[in-house]
Amino acid sequence: MADSAVFDFVAEELERTTNLDRMEARGMLRLVLKQALFDSKTLKVKQMQMVIDRLLAAHLCRCGVENPESVCEGLAMNLKAKGFGSGVAESPDEIFGRLLQRPEATPLGGESPPSK
């Protein structure tokens, strides 16, 4: 099974906007995804956005990429602009989050803050 379109897109963006080559960009991205327990083959946009928001900058920094925060901001913007929304299957988290219909839940992603 091939990597998801979201993974390929972000890896190519990393290759284009940083000094990392193809192998480094994809390898580093796989490591970050592994840390977040996401699979590159079934990766969804929201999962990637969470990884960019929370983990990627630190990994880019470790790889010697300059201005990792601005790289992440650019990646997040381009990912949003790419419009993967339609055609990409939802994750089970998103579907169950919708079935629960908890307005305070953050499907797929972060923990819900404890209710007051």
């Binding site: 327990l37 169950f96 079935l99 219909q101 953050t106 797929l108 972060g110 923990e111 819900s112 209710s115």
Partner: protein, 245 residues
């Protein structure tokens, strides 16, 4: 009596949850809402109502058998919906998972034709009974395995703040509900196999089936209608939430 209690609770919770899911589908028009709602309604309240209605109201008549077979047809549609839900939610890209509902539907249709052509009597169960129950148990077990497997992953994600604790718990509860339902079907199967001609199900079997109904109902309730206090408890248990506090 205890048999009625467990099945009654399952009936009420199943009806409430399935109608809520179908109500949600009216808003979202998404396949998972529709298939989950139809699956639950068909397998549970509606299926059992039609299945047992005739034999209870007019035992031994042609109407009773017609009602029984119609109930099986309703249940078959419910199982078909449930398998589409499992495929769509957990394995949308897998060909074998896409084929599963087709195989299940064909198998259940064959079993249904078997029930119509060769009515079951008081003797040993016939081939269509075996086919029907094993297909249904497999469908439930598949859904349970997928949901529990996914729960294991999300539980770890919750620990590092990458998943919602309540959503994660709903995978566990959905898995438990399906497991208990599968056990219930297998319980009926083995109990019927052990029966001698003319014998009825014993009290022990009824208690076991009732327990399965209770567990399924409780797990369904927590999976789709988690009370606020329970959701709060889950959220505060996650390490990520502790880090925030």
């Amino acid at each position: 009596m205890i048999g009625i209690v467990g099945m009654g609770v399952f009936f009420v919770v199943g009806l409430f949850v399935s109608l809520r899911l179908l109500g949600l589908w009216r808003k979202t028009r998404q396949l998972p809402e529709l298939t989950a709602g139809m699956g639950l309604l068909g397998i549970g309240p509606l299926g059992f109502c039609v299945l047992l209605g005739g034999p209870t109201l007019a035992p031994g008549t042609r109407f009773a058998y017609l009602s029984f077979v119609t109930g099986l047809a309703v249940q078959a549609l419910g199982f078909l919906s449930a398998s589409v839900f499992t495929w769509r939610v957990f394995r949308p890209g897998a060909r074998w998972a896409r084929a599963f509902p087709i195989v299940l539907g064909a198998g259940l249709a064959v079993a249904l034709v078997g029930y119509m052509v060769v009515p079951i009597g008081s003797g040993q169960p016939l081939w269509h009974f075996h086919l029907d129950i094993w297909l249904k148990a497999t469908c439930l077990a598949w859904g349970a395995a997928e949901s529990l497997g996914y729960w294991r992953v999300t539980r770890q994600r919750v620990a590092i703040g990458f998943a919602d604790a309540v959503v994660s718990a709903s995978f566990l509860c959905w898995g438990i509900a399906l497991s208990a339902a599968a056990l219930g079907f297998l319980g009926i199967y083995f109990a019927v196999l052990a029966l001698r001609p003319g014998e009825h199900l014993g009290a022990g079997v009824e208690v076991a089936l009732s327990s399965c109904g209770m567990i399924t109902a409780s797990a369904l309730f927590l999976a789709f209608l988690p009370p606020k206090a329970y959701a709060r408890w889950l959220a505060t248990r996650s390490p990520a939430a502790e880090a925030h506090s």
